[in-house]
């Protein structure tokens, strides 16, 4: 039983984490990002689009298109994030509003295009793109370690990709010059400007990166939850990622912990319902566990939370 909790928990926590990291990049640079939901959806749509059009050109059991679809999802997410960045940075819109608009538009466009493409190219009235099943593997020796061995047992290979991305994004944010500029833009953009660095450019890059990371998370959710792309991807995981990053105090590692709590509370709840042999309607009750847990934890821990100081402010050169 604990095995399923760990395997399912990780399969949920890691995509959530990569989306939350996307959010951290954007918010640490000073751009409030409520658009994660739309970005992950658009990314998943782009990846799925690639699969339905070009997946057939690869040999039957090849996993290459599946991995390529992750790259396409990142590109699609980044492209769509450019629109968000333009709104927030070039057109100086209210960032909260721009985020919500981006979400609404993303859901509208992808739903419409999925239907229209299915109608025009495949002549079927469907709002889904079938994208297949993501490969799972086990690591032979490690998986036999008691308890934590479950981490290495029967896991989606995207877990490895996300862990690798976690390492890269952590290094980029905390150890590179770009990361330092980015974090400074979120706390004291005037100082960054005085140092001769273009604040708007840094923020633009941060937002586009957050789109790419959200796109990866989105396509992973699409694979792990349903093996297809449909408007059901807009389940609110983007908002959950925002909760995770606020809970993680805008830092990558604490956010990782927050995502793990969500993931395990979710899979643990499901297993609990199965264990107690409750009817499936009780799943609705156990599904609330991650959210109730978050609220309770926030009550205890959010006093010391500190958002980036310039978060949500449009950069104004003239301001002191």
């Amino acid at each position: 039983m604990y095995k399923t909790i760990i395997i399912d928990g990780l399969a949920f926590a890691l995509p959530l984490l990569i989306i939350a990291i996307g959010g951290i990049y954007s918010e640490r640079s000073g751009v409030t990002n409520l658009a994660l939901e739309g970005l992950l959806g658009f990314g998943a749509f782009s990846g799925a689009l690639f699969i339905v059009f070009l997946g057939g050109h690869f040999s039957q059991n090849s996993n290459i298109p599946i991995y390529l679809s992750i790259i396409m999802a990142a590109l699609g997410g980044a492209l769509y994030a450019t629109l968000f960045a333009l709104l927030c940075i070039k057109f100086k819109s209210n960032q909260v509003i721009a985020g919500v608009v981006i979400n609404i538009l993303s859901q509208a466009i992808t739903t419409f295009l999925t239907r229209q493409i299915n109608q025009n190219f495949f002549e079927q009235p469907s709002d889904k793109f079938q994208i297949g099943v993501f490969p799972r593997i086990s690591i032979p020796v490690l998986k036999d370690i008691p308890i934590i061995g479950a981490v290495f047992d029967n896991f989606y290979t995207f877990n490895i990709i996300i862990i690798a991305l976690l390492a890269v994004t952590w290094y980029l944010l905390y150890k590179s010059a770009f990361g330092m500029h980015l974090r400074a833009c979120g706390d004291n953009p005037q100082a960054v400007d005085a140092a001769g660095i273009d604040v708007e450019k840094v923020r633009f890059k941060a937002v586009v990166l957050s789109g790419a990371l959200s796109g990866v998370g989105g396509i992973c959710f699409a694979y792990s939850i349903s093996a297809n792309f449909s408007p059901a991807i807009y389940m609110g995981y983007g908002y959950l990622a925002i909760a995770a990053l606020i809970f993680g105090n805008w830092k990558i590692m604490p956010t990782f912990v927050a995502c793990l709590i969500f993931g395990f509370a979710r899979s643990g709840g499901n297993e609990l319902a199965k264990f107690l042999q409750l009817s499936s309607s009780y799943l609705d009750l156990t599904m609330t566990l991650p959210y109730i847990l978050t609220l309770l934890l926030l009550i205890f821990f959010s006093k010391r939370n500190r958002a980036p100081r310039a978060l949500g402010e449009i950069y104004d050169k003239g301001k002191r």
Binding site: L34, L87, K90, F91, K92, S93, N94, V96, I97, A98, V100, V101, N103, I104, L105, Q107, A108, I109, T111, F112, R115, Q116, Q119, G236, Y239, L240, I242, A243, I246, F247, S281, Y282, D284, L285, M287, T288, Y291, I292, T294, L295, L298, I299, S302, K303, N305
Partner: protein, 376 residues
């Protein structure tokens, strides 16, 4: 010297740039640009954009259709549009007052659901009650439940520093799942898989009223929603509390120094916002609809954020923006039947409108600058 007196030669720029009219000219400009862009998209898809946009208006009863079934007419279609516009208007007012106070109520959907659910199981199923009493009770329950949830969100913010965005999203999920559980285990109609239909006595929309040759629905709360919007306009612009709310929204620290009890006010703002969301909930679940889908939040709560924005967060503006967005949303089905464009394009059109209205402050600035320069 600023030469404001120089008249712009181009009347369009004059209209768009003059700060006196910008509050109305810019939103209209955004809508027109969006409709043109949508028409281009429809054209590129190989369909007739005029036919499609006309279909949208016809479907929502804003233009007459070619033919109608018995008891049906343009007026019945339009009444239905007003019926679904009512909760949209309440929800957008809920968002706007929070936004004025610098708070973001993204939990309108959840507050709608809990108000609608509690009103349904208490009064909605008490079918022997006098219609007037049960309708009044439904409204009171909606207001109380909504404002309690709103106040809770405000309390969590001021007491525990929990962002209202996060707590309302968490509450949305919790309500959605818990209520779904109760509907499925206690109140389900085995045929429709929704909650059992409420009694007509508690329903806030009068159904199948025969007027002349038509059988139509009468959304009695539409008028009340308009009155509430006018009242909110007065409240926000003509009362001390309204000014205090705006002051908090503009700068919390300054408001604090000015002696405003910011924490009290934040809880109050969220309670009012929640009460309006509760009204949206009862007019949606016990008015436009008469039952609740399990495991589903209505999209009104999220669309209302955009409607509020399109209306400049101004209650009077919101009356018009909610009418516009409702017409576009409602007309999609009919548009598909006359033009062949998938009905989801309706959501794309309203999305594009929102996109351009999100740029309104930029447009104001650009056109304003040209206007001051005398159109050079």
């Amino acid at each position: 010297m600023p030469n404001k007196t120089v008249k712009n030669k181009n009347p369009i720029f004059n209209l768009l740039g003059n700060p006196k009219y910008q509050f109305i000219s810019i939103p209209i400009f955004a809508v027109i640009i969006s409709l043109i862009l949508s028409a281009i998209i429809i054209f590129l898809l190989g369909q007739n954009p005029i036919l499609a946009l006309k279909g949208l208006m016809q479907g929502a009863g804003a233009l007459p259709k070619d033919n109608y079934a018995a008891y049906q007419g343009q007026v019945t279609d339009f009444m239905e549009t007003l019926d679904i516009m009512t909760p949209m208007l309440f929800a957008a007012l809920a968002v706007s007052i929070a936004m004025k106070g610098g708070l973001f109520n993204i939990g309108v959907s959840g507050q709608m659901l809990i108000s609608g659910f509690v009103a349904t199981i208490t009064i909605g199923y008490a079918k022997e009650l006098n219609p007037f009493i049960s309708k009044t009770l439904v409204v009171i329950i909606g207001i109380i439940l909504g404002s309690l949830v709103g106040a809770l969100i405000g309390f969590l913010k001021v007491k525990f520093n929990i962002s209202e965005v996060v707590s309302s999203i968490m509450l949305n999920y919790i309500f959605q799942y818990v209520i779904s559980f109760f509907i499925i285990t206690q109140y389900v109609d085995p045929v429709t898989r929704q909650s059992r239909v409420i009694g007509e006595n508690a329903r806030l929309t009068l159904m199948n009223v025969e007027i002349g040759p038509y059988k139509m629905r009468i959304p009695i709360f539409f008028v009340i929603a308009i009155l509430v919007a006018i009242f909110m306009h007065f409240y926000m612009n003509r009362t001390d509390q309204g000014f205090e709310i705006s002051a908090i929204g503009l700068n919390q620290n300054a408001a604090l120094y000015a002696g405003i009890k910011v924490n009290h006010r934040i809880i109050m703002i969220m309670a009012i916002s929640g009460a309006l969301a509760g009204l949206a909930g009862v007019t949606f679940y016990l008015g436009y609809r008469a039952s609740i889908f399990p495991n589903q939040l209505s999209s009104i709560g999220f669309d209302s954020i955009a409607v509020s924005l399109l209306g400049n967060n101004n209650p009077i503006g919101i009356i018009f923006s909610s009418l516009l967005i409702t017409i576009i949303d409602r007309g999609g089905t009919y548009m598909r039947s006359v033009s062949g464009v998938e009905q989801e394009i309706a959501a794309v059109i309203s999305g594009i409108i929102l996109l351009f209205s999100a740029m309104s402050s930029y447009m104001k600035e650009v056109f304003g600058a040209r206007y001051r320069k005398g159109g050079k």
